[in-house]
Homo-oligomer: 243 residues x 2
């Protein structure tokens, strides 16, 4: 039986989602519990392998089990054993040909930054920018990402995927109390793509560089944007499988 | 020259304010920097020694220095070297007979709890209560703390102070988004007093015990309230020296 889990986690104290020997990871915490319950190593598969320090408000994972446990009860069982920085929102049975990673979806990421004085309570949860940011300029530059583009300029050189064309449905910069937030929805994202887009938008907003979104997309040249914004501001906000 | 520092800190990853060998403490972080700068051990004095896990939005400390540094510059110097979970809001010179702890003040504490589903992003910053709470009942019980009372029933047995009479100016339970917050202002607080009051108010709000604030104050008997609410919800919100 394949179990689908919907969950959130605060990435601050994790070394990312993916298992790494000797490090505290989201995958490691969950697989340890499942493997003990199944008395054999039990692998989980995530919709998105978030990096070290990145948060998730709406992550999906699946795993296969032969244990005779009511599918909706897995949420309760896991929550009773997981640390407080992971929360399982729900669990359900899915078809054995469903795969959280390969099923078609729209993903939404949110990136939180702020320019007021440094706030110890935002530490690890939003990124402090020590410059004034012009939100209109950022928004004008952001909106031009909407549509279908080759995102080579805005992806890590480490991305090994050949096809770097992605479709962006939404790309807005909005304010929320004292945070400035980029919200971006796409058919998929390349490695570090959101954080590189944010690094570019911060430069546009602070006046360090002009709005050249179109030209940069056409250039398909990663060296044009050498920076990557810190992980702490990034949230996997929603995965929409179209259900 | 005596320097007064106004600061905030996120207590989540500290073993409390007070220096403890081998533990990460607020005092330890600051004294390490000051002692290195002064080339001799330099002690700081806090207005309140917050416990492990307790937060401060408005803590004061003072220290004495013979370094020829403009008093307002200490905030900048310390922020440039302190970790991100401590923030120095300002620094100024004060008279050498001013002592942050013994100067008369009103202190305000806030305690944050919530009853919605567990939220990994509130972990360490607000306390999840797994019961429904009747805020009106809590408020009625809370308001009776206002005035001058002997708080023996509501203080830790570890409190060695003889005089347990304190004056409470304000004691309200209010809601703020999805948190329920106790705000209490007093002439001073005994050890664990706010957390014991909160433990009692949670029992009143959940229906586990009736409102008996007056009777409990008169009883001057700590055994009547065996619980202490967790540290993570507690914030030192304001210290008012009457300036």
């Amino acid at each position: 039986m394949r179990i689908l889990i919907n969950m959130s986690y605060n990435g601050k104290d994790f070394h990312g989602f993916q298992h790494q020997p000797g490090e505290r990871t989201v995958q490691g915490e969950i697989e340890a519990i499942l493997s003990e319950m199944h008395k054999t190593f039990t692998r989980i598969h995530p919709a998105s392998r978030t990096d070290r320090g990145v948060h998730a408000l709406d992550q999906y994972i699946h795993f296969d089990t032969e244990l005779n446990i009511e599918p909706t009860k897995w949420a309760y069982i896991l929550n009773s054993r997981l640390p407080d920085d992971i929360y399982i929102k729900s669990s359900a049975e899915v078809s054995e040909d469903f795969h959280v990673r390969y099923a078609k979806s729209k993903k939404t990421y949110r990136y939180k930054m702020y320019t007021s004085v440094p706030d110890p309570f935002k530490n690890g949860l939003a990124v402090h920018i020590d410059k004034n940011l012009d939100i209109n300029k950022m928004n004008n530059a952001a909106r031009q990402f909407i549509g279908t583009h080759d995102f080579t300029t805005f992806s890590s050189a480490k991305a090994v995927i050949e096809n770097k064309v992605r479709h962006i449905y939404r790309c807005d910069v909005e304010t929320n109390d004292d945070t400035i937030e980029l919200v971006i929805t796409g058919s998929g994202f390349l490695y570090n793509m959101v954080r590189i887009i944010v690094a570019y938008l911060i430069e546009v907003g602070s006046g360090a560089r002009k709005d050249e979104t179109k030209e940069l997309l056409e250039a398909t040249d990663r060296t044009r944007i050498p920076r990557t914004a810190p992980a702490a501001g990034l949230y996997l906000e929603e995965i929409d499988y179209g259900w």
